[in-house]
Amino acid sequence: MRRALLCLATLGAIATKAAYGQSAGALPKGLPDWSGAWVMQGPTVFDPATVQPPNGRAGDPGVREFPPYNDEWEALYKRHIDLIRQGTFPDPISTCGTPHGFPRMMNVPDVYEFAVTPEKVVILAENGPNILRIYTDGRTHPAKEDLWPTYNGSSVGHWEGDTLVFDTISMKGWSGKDVILDRTGLVLSDASRVTTRLRRLDETTMEAQMIVTDPKALKAPWPVTKRYRRQPAGTWGWDYACAENNRNPISDSGRTLTLGPDGKPIDKVVK
């Protein structure tokens, strides 16, 4: 009887493994330790290496970067920069209805967490919030007919030593709304693709080297590097419910409003 039960249990475990993949348990040896909380270094300009003026802040009038745009998308970027000068290029996330989308989610403030598992790596960006799932179990991207444009697209990757190399496609891109890369007005098309090499440089530094290609918008591959600094042990990440108390909605004309505690625009002026 006892032997029969043991046999059944073993068969059950084999069946479970077949149905759900590798069994749960300890991480396989060799996967890196990316635990802890991390914060992006530098301002929220997507490509700080090319921003002008140097150290310019996203959202300030006239601040821009220099991706290898073709003429059409350079002209579009310049129109966005003009709208920012006029205060009528709203950040899509100000509606509190959508995530930032990839690759912008690698360019946000607040805490990042990197959850490494045998099957996938999950990047959690507290701000937004944003979640990027990078499957590392050997799968390829879904077939074209099974994909549709989403904010974070589809990511598959593999390990090269301690470096996670992953490929991201099927992002929504700019369609006149929805997704931007930062508040300078930087955008990509729905044909964009990003290859990312994510690795831990040292005890306190994580680095994401991204190569962006976009046959609709870019004349050449665009390399962008972001770095993240590890926070003190025990740092908490928290809930970020953007719609909880959004007093900065977008007006019909594209201006970012400031509402009073009663939910109405503040109109009192004190000289």
């Binding site: 009038p61 108390n245 007093r247 900065n248 970012t256 400031t258 000289k271």
Partner: protein, 125 residues
């Protein structure tokens, strides 16, 4: 209870041109970061909520009470910088420095605060 009116605008130079709190969720274009004004008043409420905290401050000026809405970062970020949901309690007397709205309305972006016991918060130099 009487409160000092809006006190003074500082020149847009030197240490008062501070690094703004991260406005992770919207453009800061509505605020004039070349100016810092000082408000002395009574805390009505601290809205400790995402995506931004809001300090509601009642300031008396020329015999009239005005409620100011002062925007800060997210509670997530601020909690990691030592703020708590009880940092400002209703009735607290406090002096607050803000980057004012460009349109002159009674709102601003939090720069720093000084409490009656002399403790300060944010940038106060």
């Amino acid at each position: 209870m009487k409160w000092m009116p809006v006190v003074r605008a500082f020149a847009a130079v030197g240490s008062l041109l501070v690094v703004q709190p991260l406005l992770a969720h919207h453009s800061a274009a509505m605020f004039d970061d070349t100016k810092v004004i000082e408000l002395k008043g009574a805390v009505k409420e601290l809205q400790w909520s995402n995506p931004h905290i809001w300090l509601q401050l009642v300031v008396e000026e020329k015999g009239a009470a005005h409620e100011w809405s002062i925007e800060g970062g997210s509670p997530n970020t601020l909690s990691r910088r030592g703020w708590r949901s009880t940092t400002f309690k209703p009735g607290d007397e406090v002096t607050v420095r803000v980057n004012p709205m460009k349109d002159g309305t009674t709102a601003g972006l939090f720069v720093g605060a000084k409490f009656v016991d002399g403790k300060t918060l944010g940038r106060w130099e």
